[in-house]
């Protein structure tokens, strides 16, 4: 976490700087079919975060050495566009984006029915166009919508949400300031129909009680976002 500053981020009424209660998430919008040439795509805004995801495939996996005889390979890339942050990001892979690509791939491989497409490849490209804390969660959630938009069979969608702690108060869905000055961050990838997890990370400092509270906030938020995802996939615009 950024630091254990003295910045006061919860007011006397228990509200956060952007007016949310501790358990509230930022506004989420979801749109599918935003990349005309892709097999499936999703644009998701979450606060000032914006991610677009393109899915191509199942298609030929080449070179042949990457093929698997019993299943498809999933090629997942997470990237932040150069203009997605206050200071420009130099294009190209870095250690952070590699790690997020890997854990996102691990999460999606847990739900996509890869064994239906032996020797082929499914490509998932996550591009962050605007970043405001929690981009890995937005990327993973949008990727599962884009996979569904491409008609690729999955056991469930994945909803990813993070909760954390600011000024010793557990809050859901940290924004940029809260993430910078917060004391803990707990992102989870949740299967909304079963309450099981496919993605989990944490850093910071949480007591057992605080951890339980953060976990519960994430589970509740997942249900809310899941409703919007289903709505977007059924053809309506979600707001």
């Amino acid at each position: 976490m950024g630091g254990y500053g003295d910045v006061q981020m919860i007011d006397e009424n228990g509200l956060r700087m952007d007016g949310r209660s501790p358990g509230d998430i930022r506004e989420v919008t979801i749109e599918t079919g935003v990349i005309p040439v892709a097999d499936g795509s999703c644009r998701m805004t979450w606060g000032t975060n914006e991610a677009i995801v393109g899915v191509y495939g199942p298609m030929e996996a080449h070179p042949r050495k990457i093929q698997r005889q019993d299943r498809a390979v999933l090629d997942v890339a997470y990237n932040m566009a150069p203009f997605s942050t206050t200071d420009r990001i130099r294009p190209g892979f870095n250690r952070r984006s590699r790690e997020i690509s890997k854990v996102t791939k691990d999460a999606l491989e847990s739900v996509v029915l890869l064994e239906l497409y032996p020797r082929s490849k499914i490509r998932v490209t996550i591009e962050i166009l605007s970043a405001e804390a929690g981009t890995r969660c937005v990327g993973l959630t949008a990727a599962s919508v884009a996979l569904a938009d491409a008609g690729i069979p999955m056991t469930d969608l994945v909803v990813s949400v993070a909760s954390g702690k600011i000024n010793d108060v557990v809050v859901c869905d940290l924004n940029k300031e809260e993430d910078n000055y917060g004391e803990a961050d707990l992102p989870m990838g949740i299967l909304p129909n079963s309450g099981e997890l496919v993605f989990l990370q944490m850093d910071g400092d949480l007591s057992q009680e605080e951890f339980k509270q953060a976990w519960d906030y994430n589970m509740d938020a997942a249900q809310v976002v899941h409703g919007l995802m289903v709505e977007a996939l059924k053809g309506g615009d979600s707001q």
């Binding site: 040439v37 892709a38 914006e50 393109g54 150069p82 203009f83």
Partner: protein
Amino acid sequence: MTIPIVPKLLRAHLSDLAANNARIDGRSQWEGRNLEVEHSVLPRAEGSARVRMGDTIVLAGVKFQIMQPYPDRPNQGGLMCSADVRPIAGRNWEAGPPSPEAIELGRVVDRGIRESGCIDVDSLCIIPGEKAWQVILDLFAVSDDGNLFDAFALAGIAALRNATVPAERFEVGEDYALPVSKTPIMCSYHKVGGRFVYDACSREELGGDERIHITLGDDDNVHSLQKGLKGIFSAEEFAEIMTNAQERTKELRKILDSM
């Protein structure tokens, strides 16, 4: 970029269409696709634009950095233009270091904007020899259905015209709009079925031959030219597309000016 196999049937089909003065998507020879230009679409960029031409969609974002001027040009800032076509934009674009195709795209668009002199690099100086603004224009392809060149060039100049210099954030004065004195516009022509057409879609690019890119400034001055891919063209063919480019760039400039 992987080079897709070009079916002989597609080439033959495009030739037949050209012989009947028709195109694969029903347009006429010099007709462009439906065009949409939007400003201020990226919340974290100091200037931005989204351009949609048919099913081709691109974004352009402007960021600023403070640089030390080059010793031989102590009173000048800099302009940098970089284009990236990531795998999200189409199944033939692959991850990894920029392909020669993507580099050509970025450089041709960069030349058109730079050589037009639309950004006065002398005005970007803050303290001579010490501090100057570097303007960075990043072009990003969302969906490639052909003619990324024109889409990038148009989004690029639209984003620059939309940019605010973030002087307050860098504590060097007050924010101000980036001065952009000219509006260079690029028009691209592909030879498809033996004749040149304007604004080729991806199927025309796939089954076509050479392409020519022309960037014209406000007074029809020529700022950049590029011939790409294998093919031979005549002086007469070039004269014809240059005439068309003069008309088309005026129309596009009007669209930007009306925003």
